[in-house]
């Protein structure tokens, strides 16, 4: 457990990946829970995932938005009282637009994403193994090009650590709560028009 008194309110702090027993136990327990929940949520199933992208089945968006609402309310409250650190990744407009678009196209081709793909393997959907091979190949290809990408694409629209409330100059906690309310209203409408 981290010392709440040392929690940094503004931004993340570097973390060590040292294989201490207690840290690895948390990884195992939380990983187990994550896989269990993904499978129970149906998002390890081919039809549910491709159904989301064909806009026939809205399970994926319902799970993601519910997780965002509950997670956001809790994390920003805990952070406000200095109980947890935020882990804000840098915003890079060029790399994230291109990366996001490439990811989305790939996601549509295989219909599993990296997390739900791991759950699909546990569930015995063996077609995900083609994707595992591709995921490893794509990762290595990126590593091959990483030196060049760092000097080019990743410098396009480099904004550093940036949150939505920072852009709008609104304090983080009230913004987060307002966002939770907005997203909840969105889910209510979504459920009305798309029961599944």
């Amino acid at each position: 457990m981290i010392d709440p008194g040392k929690a940094v309110k503004e931004s993340s702090k570097p973390t060590s990946d040292g294989p201490s027993g207690k840290m690895m136990l948390t990884a195992a327990v939380f990983g187990l829970a994550f896989g269990f929940l993904l499978q129970k949520g149906g998002v390890a199933k081919y039809n549910v995932l491709i159904g989301q992208l064909l806009l026939q089945d809205f399970t994926v968006v319902k799970i993601m938005v519910s997780a965002i609402i509950v997670g956001m309310a809790g994390i920003f409250t805990l952070n406000h009282f200095a109980k947890v650190n935020l882990h804000i990744k840098p915003t890079r407009i060029g790399a994230q637009t291109i990366g996001g678009l490439l990811f989305g196209a790939g996601f549509a081709l295989i219909a599993y994403c990296p997390g739900t793909g791991a759950a699909a393997l546990g569930q015995g959907s063996w077609d995900v193994l083609f994707g595992f091979a591709g995921l490893m190949a794509g990762s290595y290809l990126f590593a091959e090009m990483s030196g060049w990408l760092k000097k080019t694409v990743e410098t396009w629209g480099e904004k550093g650590k940036l949150t939505l409330p920072d852009i709008l100059h609104i304090p983080r906690l009230p913004f987060a709560y307002a966002m939770c309310v907005l997203l909840t209203i969105g889910l209510i409408f979504l459920q009305r028009y798309y029961p599944r």
Partner: protein, 196 residues
């Protein structure tokens, strides 16, 4: 940016209703549990990973680590020289153990729920692309995985790291990434189900 997402969610379903993809994802097994319950619990899980481990939920770096292990075995000096692996040397770290146990958690959920599939092709895929479509599945799966991993590394995360952990922290780059993922994902999925 969230307003853009709402608009997208409002407009695209109209498109989908007009299109005929030859198959309906809702005719096949959906989630075992309510997506709101599962999403809410994933939100709670994010509090726990922040509080007890000072970590975020993420999956895609697992595949980069796996590829790094293979790279180090085949071409150790070359792999070590790559910018990405220089900064992220492949190791059995927190994120790696997390995803290994994600697979196990899904296995437990599937077994206990009587949903272990043990199949190479999902019935929806078979109904749409035929029994003899293993080659097509393999090609799309591999290409999809490759694009997805490359995109995730370029963007700095996947549907877990950006889509849940980043968005719930109101990270501007994560919202940009996830919107791009869904735009390309929806367009590509609809294209495949229309032309193939």
């Amino acid at each position: 940016m969230s307003r853009a997402l709402f608009l997208m969610l409002l407009f695209l379903p109209t498109l989908a209703n007009a299109a005929d993809f030859g198959v309906d994802a809702k005719d096949y097994d959906g989630p075992a549990w309510s997506p709101y319950l599962v999403g809410g619990l994933i939100g709670v899980l994010s509090w726990l990973t922040f509080y007890f481990a000072d970590k975020t939920i993420g999956a895609s770096s697992f595949y980069a680590t796996l590829a790094g292990f293979i790279g180090k075995w085949v071409a150790p000096r070359h792999t070590k020289s790559l910018d990405y692996y220089e900064k992220n040397p492949p190791a059995v770290d927190w994120g790696f153990i997390f995803v290994i146990f994600t697979i196990l958690g899904a296995l437990i959920a599937a077994w206990t729920g009587g949903e272990f599939r043990n199949e190479w092709l999902h019935p929806m895929w078979v109904d749409r692309f035929g029994e003899d479509s293993m080659l097509l599945r393999g090609i799309l799966g591999f290409a999809g995985g490759l694009l997805m991993a490359f995109g995730a590394r370029l963007a700095g995360g996947c549907t877990s790291g950006h889509g849940i952990s980043g968005t719930l922290q109101l990270n501007a780059g994560s919202w940009l990434t996830v919107i791009c993922m869904f735009i390309a994902g929806i367009a590509t999925a609809m294209l495949i189900y229309t032309i193939l």
